[in-house]
């Protein structure tokens, strides 16, 4: 399992700018926001946390179709499925999700404080947003694994994955943003939405890999 994690991480890092494209997309989304709403710094600092979350969500969805596609193309996905009598397939999927998150989503989280500066956010708000992104984005990847596994047999499933996954990620977005706001604004609580966010991540850490494993098995036979 550790070797699978290392292999996937290495492949993800060397896969020719996949990581960089994700960050660039994130940067582009954030850079477009001031053009859309106007360069009013007060307004930007108020909507900054929400914009960072939406940008990170879109950038995560963008890379999801690569989760199983490359392995399917070179046939190693079939090997992983065939090995499911020795290792539980759901566990394999979970490891793959973790590796994918480490290589293509963690850089987004690391880049988000810098982009938070562009949005004229306070240091506390930047810290809270980064923390919620760190906790919340694994849930998006785990939900996305279901979509990626369901659409793995399709030739161009990327857009379809985004369409069928986006409704399911709305709770993550709601609680992530409300926790980020809770850290700055006084009456709104921070701990409660943050704990719910963690609960969502843990919940989908169980549901996501199980459903994705079932979908992969059915796509193989």
């Amino acid at each position: 399992m550790l070797s699978l994690f290392l292999r996937d991480t290495r492949l993800g890092l060397r896969a020719g700018g996949g990581v960089l494209i994700g960050i660039l997309f994130f940067l582009a989304v954030i850079a477009v926001v001031p053009f859309g709403v106007g360069p009013d710094l007060k307004l930007l600092s108020r909507i900054g946390a929400a914009m960072l979350w939406i940008g990170a969500l879109l950038a995560t969805l963008l890379g999801l179709d690569r989760l199983f596609q490359a392995d399917r193309d070179d046939g190693s996905l079939d090997l992983l499925i065939m090995a499911s009598d020795r290792h539980i397939l759901a566990l394999t999927v979970l490891i793959k999700c973790l590796a994918h998150w480490t290589t293509s989503v963690l850089p987004l989280v690391i880049a988000s404080p810098l982009l938070g500066l562009f949005m004229n956010m306070e240091p506390a708000a930047i810290g809270a947003t980064t923390l919620t992104l760190l906790v919340g984005t694994p849930a998006i990847t785990l939900i996305g694994a279901v979509g990626a596994a369901v659409a793995v047999a399709l030739p161009r499933g990327g857009l379809l994955v985004s369409v069928i996954i986006l409704p399911l990620t709305i709770p993550v977005l709601i609680f992530g943003v409300s926790a980020a706001y809770g850290a700055v604004e006084d009456p709104a609580p921070f701990v409660a939405p943050f704990l719910i966010l963690i609960a969502i991540t843990l919940f989908f850490a169980v549901i996501g890999p199980l459903a994705a494993a079932a979908a992969l098995k059915s796509s193989a036979d």
Binding site: V146, G147, V150, A151, A153, L154, G157, L160, V163, I164, L166, P167, L168, I170, I207, A211, A214, A215, S218, S219
Partner: protein, 255 residues
Amino acid sequence: MSEAVSKARRWVDLANPTRFINFAGIVLPWLVGITLLVLAAGLWMSFQAPDDYQQGSTVKIMFIHVPFAWLSMMCYTVMSISAIGTLVWRHPLADVSAKAAAPIGAAFTALALITGSLWGKPMWGTWWVWDARLTSVFVLFLMYLGIIALTRAMDDPAKSSKATAILTLVGFINIPIIKFSVDWWNTLHQPASVIRMGGPTIHPSLLWPLLVMAVGFTLLFFTLHMMAMRNEIWRRRVVAMRRIAARSAERRGTQ
């Protein structure tokens, strides 16, 4: 005992698509008739119902809005049960049922949203608010569309059925959220007033038309669902026959 066995066999027999089509041929005319009768009675009762002292005649939107909203959730539940049927028993009709139900459910959800916003304009002063009930129903609508898109994206029904079933089951999380959204969060949408502990809070003069309309639209759903399933079976047969015809034509060409 023997009756139970024969009853069970009758359900298994329905798994055979030909028998299902025969069964649907017998049942459908009756179902259509009863649906029309109940809906007509419900409509008549709705127009006879008194106006609300506060809302005036706009309360009549309730008689279609509430059944649409109930059906949008019931249809998703039917699809989830079909999805379990596909995954667990590999029932040949289960994925036909799920595929046929999705567009009907999407239509009912859209109608519930539209009638709700028409009702919301005079009552709340706005077409749309982002409160928990409205947002979760909107998410349900998006999920219907996603499921339809996924089903249509794969041309082989054997492959798409399982993928759709898994997606449907994952999306079922939303149904309890919709049901309890008015209790968990403070919403502009009113809390449940018909099915609740301690009896309904609606006056009987408004409750009876509502219940008759709900039964009527439920019957309408099952009528449409059965028709759509029959269509889907026929469509698959046409595809299979075309393939056989193409194969035999090819064989003749090589000889």
